[in-house]
């Protein structure tokens, strides 16, 4: 049981001196510092993790960090491996992985740049994807007060019917 999952962790820790854990069958998690991220990703692609399923950002304002998670699937090994890395929230810069997963990574990074304001160095096209004419802060950050934003943009305090939104 979990033989191939442990094998992946062994391979990774032999090369990068990092620990990982097996959550359950077919689910493996590893954490790495951001400087070695691209090296780890290209190593993993060589192991068969050809499919970048998704990239996600979790915002931790109290800690002052952003946590990036890269979810990779291997068609040959049938394992989902998640790579986690942390960035400084004040200066959220990370090397892009488009050299590894090309257009697939490009579009995920473009989305996260728009919604979280994370800068992916080396990605040539980070133009906004969904929001048009947006001038506020990146909207998916935890400290973005969307209720207040909606009140200011869409409701009029002097209008009797909309005053309830201010109480």
């Amino acid at each position: 049981m979990l033989r191939k999952e442990n094998k992946v962790i062994e391979d990774v820790s032999a090369k990068f001196k990092i620990a990982g854990n097996v959550q359950r069958e077919r689910r493996v998690w590893v954490t790495i510092d951001k400087d070695n991220l691209v090296a780890l990703c290209s190593f993993l692609k060589g192991l068969g993790f050809e499919h970048l399923s998704a990239i996600s950002v979790t915002d931790w304002p109290q800690e002052g960090t952003f946590e990036l998670t890269y979810h990779l699937w291997s068609y040959s090994e049938k394992i989902l491996l998640t790579v986690k890395t942390k960035l400084d929230r004040a200066n959220p810069c990370v090397d892009s992985v488009i050299s590894v997963w090309r257009e697939n990574a490009q579009i995920h990074e473009r989305e996260l740049h728009e919604l979280f304001g994370v800068k992916f160095e080396g990605n040539g096209d980070l133009t906004p994807l969904f929001l048009e004419g947006w001038d506020g802060p990146p909207p998916f950050r935890k400290d973005f007060n969307w209720r207040e934003y909606a009140r200011q943009q869409h409701y009029d305090k002097s209008n009797e019917r909309e005053r309830a939104y201010y109480d």
Binding site: Q23, E50, S53, W73, E103, N104, G122, D125
Partner: protein, 383 residues
């Protein structure tokens, strides 16, 4: 990394007087295309470059879910994709179940698979319908939507909603048991859908296949690089299916095949659709034969949502939905609401990198065949 390695997609350039190139807008007015547009740069009749223009359906579900408890999110998850609300219900419910560690009753698992496969069938009928419409075969559109209505009647009977089931597949199981006599009704509807698959083969005439054969060819290595999944990837010769490779619910107990084609063109994707419908019918028949008795939800007694807390942890759930790989990453810090939800829809990749890649260098007349053969849904791309 040097400049050459950067991937940049050219912006649509302004029209110059001496230029014969011009800009062409496909969408975003909803003419069956969905609320989505593609900006094309044309030279004569040939597409030089294409740039997707998403965002018309961006509703910010990931953010909305951070402010709601799982039972509310179950209802919200309907709306991620109009065409397969029940499949997205299942993705959400599985993420919560894995976090809470609840043992979902066996009968509920069977009902979940039954509903997910019915949802796949009606989604493929929509696919067939809009594809026929795009190719100018209006009869196919009307017939397919007519047959889809039989499945919607079943949804109304079982969930109460025709298109949106209002979170029927909820954390812990399903909201309520199948009503009396529904199994016979499902069998009758399956016969009708089987009739439709025969009709699809009869409709497959020269006019239909000539428009699609050899059009929009996606090579295997391109498909993997661009992040294609589901039927689009299987039409390029990759035998993969989340239901087999990363089984969830009761799929590992069921007997079904993964249809694969080697050609990678629009016609191959269309043939995959037909075969997948037959496989879904097979799955539903097995589910109806084996469905056990018992309760359909754990815990059966409803606790007020304000008292339920999500245990700390993080999960990544993968499902095979009709369009490809539907995933959710859910992170909880022990509060009532999830701390972060990331939804990964298959069309985010199919409609931006894959579509832009396939449209490059084709004739205007081939755009509809390529566009609709990808089984697109702007709703799960924008989220």
């Amino acid at each position: 990394m040097n400049e050459k390695e950067l991937i940049t997609i050219e912006h649509i350039e302004p029209i110059m007087p001496e230029d014969t190139d011009y800009n062409f807008y496909f969408g975003p007015a909803h003419s069956g295309s969905g609320n989505f547009g593609v900006k094309l740069r044309l030279e004569g009749e040939m597409v030089k470059s294409a740039r997707a223009d998403p965002g018309y359906l961006h509703r910010g579900f990931e953010k909305l879910m951070e402010y709601r408890v799982p039972m509310q999110n179950a209802v919200l998850s309907d709306r991620i994709c109009v065409f397969e609300a029940l499949n997205w219900n299942l993705v959400h419910a599985e993420a919560v179940d894995e976090l809470t560690g609840v043992e979902v009753p066996q009968r509920a698992r069977y009902i979940r698979v039954l509903m997910a496969e019915l949802s796949r069938l009606q989604s493929h009928l929509i696919w067939y319908g809009v594809m026929s419409l795009g190719l100018g075969f209006d009869t196919g559109f009307k017939v397919a939507f007519g047959y889809r209505d039989y499945i919607l009647d079943l949804f109304e009977l079982i969930t109460g909603g025709r298109v949106y089931p209002a979170g029927y597949i909820c954390p812990g199981g399903v909201r309520r048991d199948l009503p009396d006599g529904s199994e016979n009704k499902i069998r009758r509807v399956l016969d009708q859908i089987e009739e439709m698959t025969h009709k699809m083969q009869d409709f497959d005439n020269i006019a239909f296949s000539k428009r699609m054969k050899g059009v929009g060819i996606l090579k295997t290595e391109d498909a993997i690089r661009l992040g294609a999944t589901g039927p689009v990837l299987r039409a390029c010769g990759v035998k993969t299916d989340v239901r087999k490779d990363d089984p969830y619910e009761i799929y590992n107990e069921l007997d079904f095949d993964i249809p694969v084609r080697e050609e990678g063109d629009a016609y191959a994707r269309y043939l995959i659709m037909g075969s997948e419908m037959e496989e879904s019918i097979k799955i539903i028949k097995q589910v109806l034969e084996r469905i056990p008795k018992g309760k359909v939800r754990e815990p059966a007694k409803i606790t007020p949502p304000s008292r339920v807390k999500l245990p700390e942890g993080e999960v990544y759930v993968r499902n095979e939905i009709a369009r490809g790989e539907g995933c959710a990453y859910m992170r909880s810090v022990g509060g009532k609401e999830p701390y972060r939800v990331k939804i990964r829809g298959p069309d985010f990749l199919h409609m931006i990198p894959v579509l832009e890649h396939l449209l490059k260098g084709v004739q205007i007349a081939d755009i509809p065949a390529i566009y609709w053969s990808l089984n697109i849904c702007p709703a799960d791309m924008d989220r």
